[in-house]
Symmetry: none
Subunit: 209 residues, 4 copies
DNA sequence: AATGAATGAGTATTCATTCAT
DNA sequence: GATGAATGAATACTCATTCAT
């Protein structure tokens, strides 16, 4: 009986966690990081206290959700590593990344707020950068990408391209396509002068103060 | 007499207003738009009520500060209209713009949040775009800039370039130089295919819902 | 188990709610509608946030308290429907109503301020008028009440009689008895000329602008 | 020159006071006692500080305005003392009084808030009661008014009649006519039993705690 | 005498977090 | 493990009143 209860409790907990993550993902995407924990609990159909049992603070929840999103991008990059045309693969990855950002208000805010101190997110982004390095290496070998850009550049550019079109988001939700194309014109310019500043080191190497 | 008395009162007011604007500029830059009016008042060394006497709402204060920043950029663009090399002028303008953004958290938030309803800011940005149009026209005539980019593109790219380097801001405050160079490589690629998406319309044409 | 736990939690909540309602009733009665939520919380011995957990806004709390008072009057009218002498019953009802008003500043304010937009209160008053209609009908049938007055007239007169004696409240707390008697002399004058203005329509029929 | 300036200053002050009284009368009537001193100053076209020079506190201003209104009613009662039919005169006075109340939100609030401690207002009301005593005496002599009502009763009834119809003010602005008629039916019932409670003493005899 | 800038206490309301059940 | 009631600090904004000019 106690065993049964515990087993039942565990199953409930797993189900609650799943619901919570789904609700939080949706709520953060729609409303940004300022959505309240109460709203998230309500969307998940669980009690507020249960949210805090699964994640001891709002930042922890936010970090978990964000890492999940980054992991999705890692998977996408992974799938594209075997594509025929590495430049097209890179373009597709970037399009996917920008679209994910455009659909998720909180993701953008987390990316853009170094003060948020989400170490796990920085780690996930470093992993993403490493995976994208594969894509960029293949594209460079094929000669379709300039030699002095790295996976980290590509990943950082996702945020930049999205931000460029963000003020237009409501009047022209596809505007990011313009700036993605423009960025690619720079990235693929294999005869350009070398960039005047070195590529970024992994984020975890220098956690924010 | 009355003039003298009023003048002295006004002098105090002007001093307070200057302090307030300085404190608000600093506080918004450091802490972003969420800094409280109380904090701003404290930094300015005046009472909370005095802040509201000068600006009837937080949004009004934020708008005033932001318009001031945009006006600074307009002045910078204006000065560069007579430079010898229009492409260099454009690069310098963009460098200035990105640096302003990098130093001001609230500015970035205002730019990137179309819902903020700060009509005056939208107007100022439209004016900035128009001024930058002059820079881009000259650069295009000289053949150093692709024909299908506009002043608005350049202005939007300021936010994008800054955002690209934002995650690196603390470990490498100059990283934006790398992405500015990359963006310019795309912008100056006069033989590139035309961009796949039209340039943005003025912001004031599409007020937020 | 869960039931037990919840039951105890609920018991605390019920106790707090009771305290809150008691404190709010008292505070509104003493100080009028302008008493602050903080004062009410303090009187109830609970935190400000708890007040808002029970009632999402001050208006909601005020409406709840007021409806409770009106419901008390409805119950009083209901009890008097079976009295032997319908005119005496009406007089007793009016005495009760005026006394309730005299003891409650907020009640008077709510009644007398159509702009307050408390729809539930308007509904409760309409219900009160309907109940009092029974009393007036019986009194008319018995010939002790003029035919052209309605339950709504009686209900409105409660506020009027109280207001008449309000300036005397402190020096002569029973002064309302004088004006109640005077009003009844008018109401029971069955041979008087018909009133020159029609009786009021239900309040809910004409919500405030 | 100094004389001239002083003379000029005095003329200005008189003009300012007149403007202030007019603006305050209007603002209090429209908005009730909660209208802000700033709003009143603005309507008067003078500075806030000037308002406080003329009246050291908001209550003082409110008292002055209210006394003025009561004085208007005293004048009205005075004029009606020589009317042919004393009962008609009384009815006319009461209609005037109720209409004044209906047109002035602040007046009603002052009447209905004994805590406001406006001694001058209480004095003015006592004077009004004394004047109305003349009207009631004449009506009693003519046999049209019951013997046991006083001028103070009549004055207090003005507020009561107005309050009775106040909840209907928006949907039926003339509803007070119904309740004035009803009140007069009680007042003129010369064969009624004596009222069960003595008439009010002058207000100033018992200032509020 | 007039001005209006400055003050600061006061208001309703929100929300992450804690904890008794 | 789950609940949700309680907390209390924080926020933008208002307004009567003061006072230096």
């Amino acid at each position: 009986m106690t065993d049964g209860a515990t087993a039942r409790g565990r199953a409930d907990m797993v189900r609650n966690r799943r619901r919570l993550l789904a609700a939080a993902t949706e709520a953060f995407a729609e409303c940004g990081t300022e959505v309240s924990m109460g709203e998230i609990a309500q969307r998940a159909g669980i009690a507020k206290g249960t949210v805090f049992r699964h994640f001891p603070s709002k930042n922890d929840l936010l970090a978990a959700i964000t890492v999940q999103l980054v992991d999705g991008l890692i998977a996408a990059a992974d799938r594209l590593r075997t594509a025929d045309d590495p430049v097209t693969a890179l373009r597709e990855f970037m399009a996917t990344g920008v679209e994910v950002l455009a659909a998720d208000r909180a993701f953008c805010e987390v990316i853009g707020r170094p003060s948020l101190q989400l170490a796990e997110v920085r780690g996930a982004i470093d992993r993403l950068c490493a995976t994208v390095d594969d894509l960029t290496e293949r594209a460079k070998q094929q000669g379709g990408l300039r030699a002095d850009v790295t996976g980290a550049d590509i990943v950082l550019l996702l945020g930049g391209i999205h931000q460029t079109s963000l003020p237009l988001l409501e009047q022209d939700p596809q505007a990011w396509r313009r700036y993605l194309a423009l960025a690619l014109d720079g990235l693929c310019n294999t005869s350009a002068t070398a960039l005047p500043h070195p590529p970024p080191a992994p984020l975890l190497a220098a956690p924010p103060a």
